[in-house]
């Protein structure tokens, strides 16, 4: 379960390829894949092992002009899906 204080990073076993602004993500096992739109690709780029999920949501809200509440709701669900599929892994949880 992804939490706001999680610091997430891309699983090093994941491989990616950019095509027409979309990001093709080859999942670590089973020959499966997902295709991310530019916002999804940006979330993946921001999940660099230094930012909490809340930090990621704030950046996306600023960049896309949506309310922080809307961005947070969408990104928590999206991050959860990426964690379940093994694309993102939790590096640590901020406790401060």
């Amino acid at each position: 379960m992804a939490r706001w204080d999680d610091v997430l990073a891309v699983n090093p076993e994941v491989m990616t390829h950019v095509n027409d602004g979309e990001l093709i993500v080859i999942l670590p096992k089973g020959g499966k894949y997902i295709v991310l739109n530019p916002t999804g690709a940006r979330v993946l780029k921001l999940a660099d092992g230094t930012r909490t999920l809340r930090d990621v949501a704030q950046v996306i809200a600023q960049e896309s002009g949506v309310t922080p509440q809307r961005a947070e709701s969408d990104i928590l669900k999206f991050a959860q899906m990426l964690v379940e599929r093994g694309v993102l892994i939790s590096v640590k949880q901020e406790t401060g």
Binding site: M15, H17, N19, D20, E22, I24, I26, G31, K32, Y33, I34, V35
Partner: protein, 267 residues
């Protein structure tokens, strides 16, 4: 243990194979349409019986394939396999209780790497030849490759599971491989279209969006899709193919009417 040597040729790739006769003779018989006399500039696959290994508990097909930087390892108790693309060489040590099918799987992985480095691409698809044109019908396990091949009688089937795509002077060609069921004796056909199989109650062709199409094709490119070294080239190769060959999602039901829709669209 007496040893056997023969060469296998798929499109313009030749693999020289040597190993214990008990394992290679059955393969040589089954694969006779692809067996050729030894050639220079071929890759070498060497197989050894090794009783210092533990007895296999599962077929090599279930091995984990780890491929990094062109060096591929198959890991499973009873086997030790390495395929080194830079040396054009593959080595398999197998416990004497291993079966010819295990050796066949090792050679299949070797050929996936070999043909890719020589400008081809091994593709997890049924290759059906309809009106002289090749159709690569692909999808995950259970998507209906074998069913589509069976429903296409009497059209020739180059292979119902794995075909080789190879660039020719007149465009991409689809070649038969020994790694599945074949119908007829045809060895190749011009590649007319790639069809992602989707079992349905109605028959239709749908356009596949670019990224999804590429991802589906990569997901059905065995061995290569797991190595960062090859992945950018694999995407580039599929992009090159898609410049000349259309790709569709084919919704089909269990009757041959899908060919009417394909003929109506692709002629």
């Amino acid at each position: 243990m007496p040893r056997s040597i023969f060469s296998l040729r798929l499109a313009e790739s030749t693999l020289a194979i040597s190993g214990p006769e008990t394992w290679l003779q059955p393969l040589r018989r089954t694969w006779s349409p692809w067996v050729v006399s030894p050639r220079i500039n071929s890759w070498q696959a060497t197989i050894h019986a090794d009783d210092s290994l533990s007895r296999p508990a599962a077929p090599l097909f279930s091995a984990t394939i780890q491929s990094h930087g062109g060096l591929c390892h198959l890991t499973l108790p009873g086997f030790r396999a390495t395929i080194d693309a830079s040396r054009h060489a593959a080595q398999l040590h197998a416990h004497p209780a291993a079966q010819p099918a295990d050796i066949g799987y090792f050679l299949r992985v070797t050929l996936a790497l070999q043909t890719f480095t020589q400008s081809g691409i091994l593709f997890h698809a049924a290759g059906i030849v309809h009106r002289g044109q090749g159709y690569g019908c692909f999808g995950n396990s259970g998507s209906g490759k074998t069913t589509a091949a069976q429903l296409s009688r009497p059209d020739p089937v180059l292979n119902d599971d794995l075909i080789l795509l190879w660039p020719g002077a007149d465009g991409w060609q689809m070649y038969a491989t020994p790694f599945g069921k074949r119908r007829g004796k045809l060895n190749s056909a011009p590649l007319r279209a790639l069809l992602r199989l989707i079992q349905d109650t109605e028959v239709s062709l749908e356009t596949l969006p670019g990224s999804r199409a590429l991802a589906e094709l990569i997901a059905n490119t065995p061995v290569i899709s797991g190595d960062r070294k090859w992945l950018p080239q694999a995407f580039a190769r599929w992009e090159a193919i898609l410049k000349h060959v259309p790709i569709y999602g084919l919704h089909f039901r269990k009757d041959p009417t899908f060919w009417e829709v394909i003929d109506g669209t692709l002629g």
